[in-house]
């Protein structure tokens, strides 16, 4: 790939905190204008990578470049090209949405901070609430304002660190919509998430980070075999029934909790698969059943099961 077409490049990145090695040699490249999703469980090192790329943290070894600028050696230049939206909406609660946007615009020394603020308020549907103090905003509105603030200086790359963590389903859908609209403007998006469906819906490239290394990388289609729909959790009355269920479902991706008497089964989420499971276990003492959103743990479970079966 041509150097100029690369927004972010990371080579051999390692990071230790004391004796524990958080990153063990991470490599990836993100082409300009694409959506890159770093998928990993809590503590996999996603935020550490973001902190290094956004010049907040120094790596122990390796290289991180933002639009060709070294994040460690040329942090001031790198900072001109990206914008960061963290896990918490970094907005000033005592100011109004418009005041927040104007403040950031002025600090970026842009030409018309007020005009830019109004434009962003319109774009993110906040015009009606522009003069309300942010403390009165809902979680979803805060996130929207947060992203609007990140776009004030027209960055080339935007880092969204777990943008849907802590949001309810409706706000999550709204956030997905915002990310999709962002891609239309040609901006490069670096997204982190713990959720598979999120990565699948939004990303051009997915990289799975586990234990400080990228274990898989590819397009959502390429990783299709890993994309599991959801997991079904069954609650049993007796340990004997739980054992029987495990026996009957031999071969599926299972994880049992013998203390809580629960069995988690990874499925493709289709009715047929669920019906088959119910059919096989219909005479057992299942007290409750619930479907859970597939998380990265389910993917690993699937990966491990596949390897074991081969």
């Amino acid at each position: 790939m041509n150097e100029r077409e690369i927004a972010v490049s990371v080579r051999g990145l390692t990071k230790n905190y004391g004796k524990s090695q958080v990153l063990k040699g991470v490599d990836f490249e993100i082409p300009k204008g694409s959506v890159f999703c770093l998928l990993g469980s809590n503590g996999a090192g996603k935020t550490t990578i973001i902190h290094i790329l956004t010049t907040r943290l120094k790596p122990n070894a390796g290289e991180a470049r933002i639009c060709g600028y070294d994040a460690v050696k040329q942090p001031a230049k790198a900072r001109r090209h990206f914008s960061l939206t963290g896990q918490y909406a970094a907005v000033d609660e005592l100011l109004t949405a418009r005041e927040n946007l104007i403040m950031i615009g002025r600090l970026f020394h842009i030409q018309n901070p007020k005009q830019k603020a109004d434009e962003l308020l319109r774009r993110f549907g906040l015009t009606a609430d522009a003069h309300k103090a942010v403390s009165a905003y809902s979680g979803g509105m805060r996130r929207r304002l947060d992203i609007a603030m990140s776009l004030t200086a027209d960055p080339e790359i935007i880092f969204l660190d777990e943008p849907t963590t802590g949001l309810d389903p409706q706000n999550r859908l709204e956030m997905w919509q915002i990310v999709r609209e962002l891609t239309k403007s040609g901006i490069t998006i670096f997204l982190t998430t713990q959720y598979l469906d999120e990565a699948e819906r939004l990303a051009d490239t997915i990289a799975i980070l586990n234990d400080g290394k990228i274990v898989k990388q590819g397009t959502p289609e390429g990783l299709k075999s890993l994309i599991v729909g959801s997991s079904l959790v069954l609650y049993f009355e007796t340990a004997a029934d739980l054992a029987k269920a495990k026996e009957r479902l031999d071969g599926s991706s299972l994880s049992a909790d013998n203390d809580a008497l629960t069995l988690s089964i990874t499925t493709d989420g289709r009715m047929k698969a669920v019906a088959e499971i119910i059919d096989r276990l219909s005479d057992l003492s299942v007290t409750q059943m619930e479907q859970k959103r597939a998380s990265i743990e389910d993917v690993f479970l699937q990966l491990v099961t596949k390897e074991a079966n081969q």
Binding site: L57, K58, R79, R80, A90, D92, M103, F108
Partner: protein, 256 residues
């Protein structure tokens, strides 16, 4: 030159933010004035009688006013420490850090807000003291000089508070860290003459910077002798510079 102009502009933007915060947190502003007023009433009516006799029929209100002002500035430092830490906890510091702005500018907004609060406390306490019978033989110039030193002392306390705000793990902890600053003026001659203290304490109290500051303000407002305006200014400046440098480094540090 352009960078300098940007830095000045950034300072104004963040000072504007500080001013808006003060206006929208009226309760914080009111407590900034009320506690110093309570200190004043406490020392005038509770301790004033006994202390006046002990000082040889001198007005204790006249004696204690500079000490109350210094203590009020120490108390107000907690508010700044909390505000700085709050910005860290809310992610605003992280946002500013990732922006190409002149970085230590962030601190200026907090210093500006703090000086407004301190000035308000100063006006309220001196105004009330005058109403309660405080009289100063000092000239206008001497008072002006005293006010400058008082504001420099407020600046020094604020700088320490900024560092505490960065160092604390939560806004509550930041507030607690600020508290000891309030008690520094007790270890001077501001409330009782140093000569009445145990020997070891006398040695410490006579030499600590807050005593130098207190002696200058007390000397200027009551017309005493044996004080140095320059020593007081130098102490405030040294403390301010050291802590602002530490604060600037803490703000713009890249973690290892």
């Amino acid at each position: 030159m352009k960078r300098f102009a940007y830095a000045i502009g950034d300072c104004l933007v963040l000072s504007g933010r500080g001013a808006k915060h003060i206006m929208r947190r009226i309760d914080t502003l009111i407590t900034s004035a009320i506690l110093p007023i309570i200190f004043l009433l406490l020392f005038k009516y509770l301790f004033g009688g006994a202390m006046g006799i002990a000082l040889g029929d001198e007005s204790y209100l006249n004696y204690v006013l500079p000490g109350i002002l210094l203590m009020s500035f120490g108390f107000l430092a907690s508010t700044t420490a909390t505000a700085v830490n709050d910005d860290m906890a809310k992610g605003l510091v992280a946002r500013l850090r990732s922006m190409p702005v002149a970085r230590p500018v962030f601190i200026v907004g907090h210093i500006f807000a703090s000086l407004i609060r301190n000035s308000l406390a100063l006006i309220c306490v001196v105004g009330l003291a005058l109403a309660l019978g405080y009289r100063s033989p000092a000239t206008f110039t001497a008072w002006l000089c005293a006010i400058v030193i008082l504001l420099l002392f407020a600046l020094a306390m604020t700088s320490i508070a900024v560092v505490m705000g960065f160092a604390a793990s939560s806004p509550d902890a930041a507030s607690a860290y600020g508290m000891p600053l309030m008690f520094l003026p007790y270890f001077t001659g501001a409330f009782v003459p140093i000569e009445t203290m145990p020997q070891a304490l006398q040695v410490f109290c006579a030499r600590q910077p807050v005593n130098t500051v207190w002696k200058a303000i007390s000397g200027l407002t009551l017309g005493g002798e044996g004080y140095s305006i320059w020593a007081a200014i130098a102490w405030c400046a040294v403390i301010t510079i050291i802590f602002l440098i530490i604060g600037g480094l803490l703000f713009s540090r890249t973690e290892n």
